[in-house]
Amino acid sequence: MSKTSAETVVENNQTGNQFPAVSDDNRVALAEQEKREQWKLLSLTFPALVVIALVILIPVGWLFYLSFIGKAGGFSLENYQKMIEYKSYARTFTTTFQVSFLTTLICILLGYPLAYFLAQLPGRWVGFFMLAVLLPFWTSLLVRTYAWLVLLQRKGIINDFAINMGLWESPIKLVHNMTGTLIGMAHIMLPFLVLPLYNAMKKIDRDMMHAASNLGASPARAFWTVYMPLSLPGMVAGSLIVFVLCLGFYVTPAVLGGGRVIMVSTQITAILENQFNWGAASALGVVLLIATLLVLFIAGRVLKLDAALFGKS
């Protein structure tokens, strides 16, 4: 029986049912104690919140403010207007989304089979093969970017190897362009896709596949109609992480793109280094942030992301 207020109790009393009157013993003291305890607990998060305020809230807020300050010093939308007027900005955003999309695609194509392989391994082998995913994850991305720079250069191992094998005749330009950027970024992002995908695959009940088989599905059909859809949330979560990280990525495009792949992040630093124009750089940053949030928001709405990202089922 659910009741909404004290009145209902009184009513019940009148109709003859013997409910005791609502008790107010200690009500105030209990509420105060509850509040005190909650605050005590939440106060444990205050130091971390101070750090976030210093590093995220205040700086980003400040940039937001700066993006509305024109060259003359007053409030102005000129920083945003420029973004619409100049073609170079549009090109930057196109490049950024293109690189992010292609990187995500490569990661899915390589990551799905790898995650599937890992998820099917007997328990005692997982730890060993998982190192292949974890080791890059734990290694400095600057070091990994550097490694690709060395491997992909004109006289690098890849070109040597390909020429020796007769794949191509003279050295091909593999770095300081889009190819190099994509190779490097896919390598760096792959673990971010494989780990959530692997976790999602691990949660798929083996009996589901048994049931599909038992009901007459061929292995391929069972995979495509049962396993694949069940692993989809993990794949989407992983892809989203990769995509969002790519949007704001700096080091790898800066080094492997060699100035030919201009992403939003590299343009922001270029503006600051060359023109020292805080307004323009901030506006670009704000748009990047909004784009990122928009992607997350839409994905969250469509896919109930909370669950996939934070593992709450």
Binding site: L41, L42, P59, P113, S140, V143, G248, V251
Partner: protein, 269 residues
């Protein structure tokens, strides 16, 4: 080999029928691991140009690194900042993760989201934002400033690791301890902490590496005598391929590998 005929999956596909998957996975894993490790032999080359395999072997680039005042100072700065970040982020992150996990307050979820924003906000934005704000606070080019910035970047990782650990922990243990007469703080330190300690160690190592490997914020916020190792490496990379970096990379790869294997080893216990 009869092994090929044994079923490998729930749908009775045999290992033989899965050969393509094993080959594909092997290639992908090689692509993930090998590039980084190829740097190791190259770092022992005697040549100005990085070659594989090196024609002549030498420790030239290691001498260059260990003999350089600039590289050594940057390394010490990076180690100091990473150590401080590790300690601060692990403590703050564990405190926050525990409080939010236990609380159930209606604000808890929002605070959690707020605290993991450094994972969502593009790092370049954090970098230029802190550069600007820290300029006003006088925190640029200071160790404190960089530790604060790196703590913000590392705290979300700590929180995610610790929250995952708490999720697989039976909080009733803490309740039992309290019913037996322990205060909540005692119960946390005597009962909960010993059982999530491996996750705390993992979180600490992750925060250390997050700070030590961090590039973009360091490029902006650090400088002069507080310039980090990664800042120097980055500028060396952009200008020309300095083989000294191969030597430094080798050291960094080895450190990461050792730390990772360490967490795997203690995790198994």
């Amino acid at each position: 080999m009869s092994w090929w005929r044994t079923p490998a999956s729930s749908t009775q596909v045999t290992h033989g029928g899965r050969l393509w998957l094993y080959v594909l996975a092997a290639i992908i894993m090689i692509l993930l691991i090998i590039p980084t490790f190829l740097v190791i032999p190259m770092s022992f080359s005697d040549s100005q140009y990085l070659e594989f395999p090196p024609e002549t072997w030498s420790l030239r680039w290691y001498n260059e690194y260990f003999g350089s005042r600039k590289w050594m100072r940057a390394t010490v700065v990076s180690l100091k900042i990473a150590t401080a970040t590790m300690m601060v982020a692990t403590i703050l992150g564990t405190m926050a993760a525990y409080a939010l996990f236990v609380s159930g307050h209606r604000l808890a979820k929002r605070i959690f989201m707020l605290l993991i924003t450094p994972m969502i906000v593009p790092v370049i934005l954090i970098a230029i934002g802190t550069f600007y704000a820290f300029g006003k606070f006088g925190l640029n080019n200071t160790l404190t400033g960089l530790v604060i910035a790196h703590t913000a970047l590392a705290t979300p990782l700590v929180m995610i690791v610790i929250t995952a650990a708490l999720r697989s922990y039976d909080l009733n243990q803490e309740r039992v301890a309290v019913s037996l007469g322990a205060t909540r703080i005692k119960a946390f330190f005597q009962i909960t902490l010993p059982q999530i300690k491996f996750s705390v160690v993992t979180a600490a190592l992750l925060s250390f590496l997050t700070s030590f490997d961090e590039v973009i914020v360091a490029i902006f916020v650090s400088g002069g005598s507080t310039a980090t190792l990664t800042k120097h490496m980055f500028s060396a990379l952009r200008d020309y391929i300095d083989p000294t970096i191969a030597a430094i990379s080798t050291i960094m790869v080895l450190v990461s590998t050792v730390l990772l294997l360490l967490t795997q080893a203690i995790g198994k216990k």
